[in-house]
Symmetry: C2
């Protein structure tokens, strides 16, 4: 039966002596990972963690974070990766709502936990993931590994829950997405035929491991036996240095990260020749950023993955062959890719009827990668999984070749004067102006139109453009009603969620104080 423990046993059997993880100067082989994971599981069981119990983690990326996923699974427990960018009140909600019995914490979050500790209702154990001495009240991760004898992996597998991933931090109340062992292992196998990767690849983890984009990347690496070079967090200069020094072949980055990397002024001073594969996803990618990446690192193939946590997460992939501006496959850069193997993808109307190619409706899928449901939310689960389809909440259409175009993230749509304006489309237009570094398009209140299209823009250093010039630029690209009516320039970067998504909720908030924004 498919399980995360099976993945580790398999890879330790065939790639035992190869390097699995690297953090700073520290390397561990797959055989060592298996040994440590089985000891960590043993230690957790010794603490009274039982099958199905939840175990949370609140930390930056590390090799121990990687081991956490597999150690918790090996023990038969359920991992709960906590978004490390949340406010303390949100940490409390996630830890209590999941009913976590233990939490793993690194040096960066010991203080945050101390602050909320008396509001945590179910936690019994605190495990310290750092390299120093354990803080008071913490057991050391390394002691759990060192003083526990290896155990056989739990038999939990297949449809048993493996992890609980909270989503919705940027759009409202958090929901815990229950993913099974099969969801995880199946989605990796479904996606692998579309990624040109093998055991010889060296992966860079700089996107946060708590998010399933990089979580998936960890599982893909473990399935194949790739080397994993881990950075605690994303920082463009360190990413470039690490790509050069560690011979990174494959990196997973979200669009905002790629935008920052390819716009580093000194990018030409790094030797990025080993990089042959850049995977991006998790939020809409402005076409201008893709083109910039193709120009700056022309030898690296680009692959886009579209999905959501509820789909474990990959739904569609757009391979390197579509990242071109010439030839028969050009012109699809606005696409999100095509359904991967093992997925039924359909565009459904409001009554659940399948729509033909070209028509816009809700992107819905079926497959063994679809979540078990939302934790303790049977009504929302039933609504989301109705008629056997996972309703993604994204609006989209297919073309004749099955290419998916996301036209409307349902929660990121502006209704202005009765017209639907998709923020992503307006943002794409703005990004094509050479002076623009970052932008976000939101709806703000308007007396007669309901909402007005508003853009918040960060310019590149030394560049300038006026509000009117930028609006005129947009008018050459998209319909007038989709162009911003007002533009606000700011100097500081746009606020990002832990997953690297622009926090539009925060950008909208000042405009909507004491008003209802009547958009679904």
């Amino acid at each position: 039966m498919s399980s995360l423990s099976q993945i580790i046993r398999h890879t330790a059997q065939i790639h035992g002596d190869r390097v699995a993880t690297r953090l700073g100067g520290r390397s561990r082989t797959w055989r060592e990972i298996q040994d440590r994971v089985s000891r960590l599981a043993s230690g957790l069981q010794g603490l009274g963690i039982e099958e199905g119990d939840r175990v949370a983690v609140l930390a930056l990326n590390s090799d121990r974070y990687f081991e956490f996923y597999f150690g918790v699974s090996w023990a038969g427990a359920v991992y709960v990766p906590v978004n490390n960018r949340l406010a303390p009140a949100e940490f409390v909600h996630w830890l209590n709502d999941s009913g976590s019995k233990a939490v793993f914490v690194d040096d960066n979050y010991v203080a945050a936990i101390a602050e909320i500790r008396d509001r945590l209702e179910t936690l019994q154990h605190f495990v310290y993931m750092g390299d120093g001495d354990s803080p008071d009240g913490y057991l050391a991760f390394e002691d759990l590994v060192k003083f526990s004898a290896p155990v056989k992996a739990s038999g939990r597998a297949g449809d048993d829950m493996a992890g609980l991933f909270y989503t919705g931090g940027t759009t409202g109340k958090s929901k815990g997405v229950m993913l099974s062992h099969r969801n995880h292992s199946y989605n990796v196998l479904q996606a692998l035929p579309y990624f040109d990767v093998s055991a010889d690849d060296v992966f860079l983890h700089s996107a946060p491991m708590f998010h399933l984009a990089d979580g998936f990347f960890c599982l893909m690496a473990a399935t194949l036996g790739c080397r994993n070079v881990i950075l605690p967090a994303f920082e463009p200069t360190r990413v470039l240095q690490t790509m050069q020094n560690e011979g990174i072949t494959t990196a997973l980055l979200v669009p905002t990260m790629i935008n920052m990397v390819v716009n580093q002024p000194d990018i030409d001073s790094y030797d990025l020749s080993s990089l042959r594969h850049l995977i991006y996803g998790a939020s809409p990618m402005p076409e201008a950023v893709i083109l910039k990446a193709m120009e700056v690192i022309p030898h690296a193939e680009l692959t886009q993955a579209y999905g959501q946590t509820e789909a474990s997460p990959v739904i569609t992939v757009m391979g390197p062959e579509y990242h071109t501006t010439t030839g028969p496959k050009a012109g699809k850069l606005k696409g999100a890719g095509r359904a991967i193997a093992g997925i039924d993808l359909a565009i459904l109307d409001d009554d659940g009827n399948e729509l033909p190619a070209g028509e816009v409706g809700e992107v819905c899928i079926m497959g063994d990668n679809v979540m078990l449901g939302y934790w303790n939310l049977p009504d929302i689960t039933a609504e989301t999984l109705r008629d056997g389809w996972l309703h993604t909440g994204d609006g989209g259409r297919l073309d004749e070749d099955g290419m998916l175009y996301i036209v409307d993230r349902v929660k990121d749509m502006i209704v202005s004067g009765g017209e639907n304006v998709y923020s992503a489309e307006t943002e794409q237009a703005i990004y094509q102006h050479p002076a623009v570094a970052e932008c976000a398009v939101i709806g703000i209140p308007h007396e007669s139109w309901g909402e007005q299209v508003h853009a918040i823009v960060v310019l590149k250093a030394g560049e300038s453009v006026t509000e009117q010039e930028l609006i005129d630029h947009c008018k050459t690209l998209i319909a007038g009603y989709k162009c911003p009516k007002s533009i606000q320039f700011r100097d500081e970067p746009l606020p990002l969620s832990g997953a690297g998504k622009i926090l539009k909720k925060d950008l909208r908030a000042p405009f909507w104080e004491n008003r209802d924004r009547n958009v679904s």
Copy 2:
């Protein structure tokens, strides 16, 4: 949920206009395949075929055979591909044991069916797969397609049974291996990372489609959207002509077929430049044949797959990197490959304990590709799937890198020319001759078939029979490939163990000196 219908829907969505099958001059696209499959399913339902009913096929390879697999699945029924090399008495057993309600037959087997028709207990419908007029009592495949409106695919998926594949029986009785939709679709995804194939590949089907080796190849092609060029049966000259004329990139052949192809005297007169990938498996591959293939078609990469029907079927793969006589990966040509993703592979001793690398025991696996069980044989199922492990019946050992070496078949089975021959079945046939006192059937080395079926016989006092007479006698009872190719008469009784079992190990020993038996 994973299902064969999902595979067709997915591929028709993204590769609808591309050619799916070619037979002679006839081509059909994936969109046409989906349409035809849904109509065929509709026709079957109109005949009263219900979910879970068995539908058999007895035919050579064809595009309609390809559609048969998916059409039966689309209807929610269970396909039963019948080995077309069997003797009539064996056809009767398979059709009756499976309780098939309908059988699909091509021109080559109409006469054979007529001969046994009054012994078929459950068949209600006979479907003619040929291009001519339907014989009496047959419905035409094309009429079922033409006169039935497309239907929605059955919801059968996941753990529901998709197919019943009969394998030779050690007790003289064939066992039906029940494979689920998930078994099939999962095994394709597990194996794909190790095959360098994509939608642009052109597959050659010349191995028999009733066997799961090529059945798997059909499913792999359907999953990716590859073109399938189909030959009715294997014939070396047609294989070479087809490789040249159709631009074949990828062929699946059993070792005896490769042996015949690479030894064609005029092989140099064919343009085989499109061929880049040769997959082999299903029986032991003599190293000399591998070396010959590497010499004759040096531009084609070789990949070995080891498995069995009970595993859907792929268990291990040995990639092109090991098909070398130089460099660090040389010297493993006798290996069977390493476990593919999603498989736990262990070498177990008789008590079920896992043995360390280097020690010989039974090859056992776990994974979502392991069969549901044997049809109507709960005791043998329990014995084969005990403690959660599929016991393959093959003896083997692992090396430090997880490379599997098959050293013996624990079950008394001979693999000759890609076909499994169970000694007990051949022995039963021999024993039916009145002159025979004792006999033992073993596999002895054969350069092109891997093993040859060899019998050692003790005659009754005063009786006599020639080698040829005894072989002819067997041919009236069992398929030709199961009959002994050579017989050795001896006067003294066969050697027995203390428990009274014939010591086959001792009988085999002189033939296998200095050779590895059943090396894959």
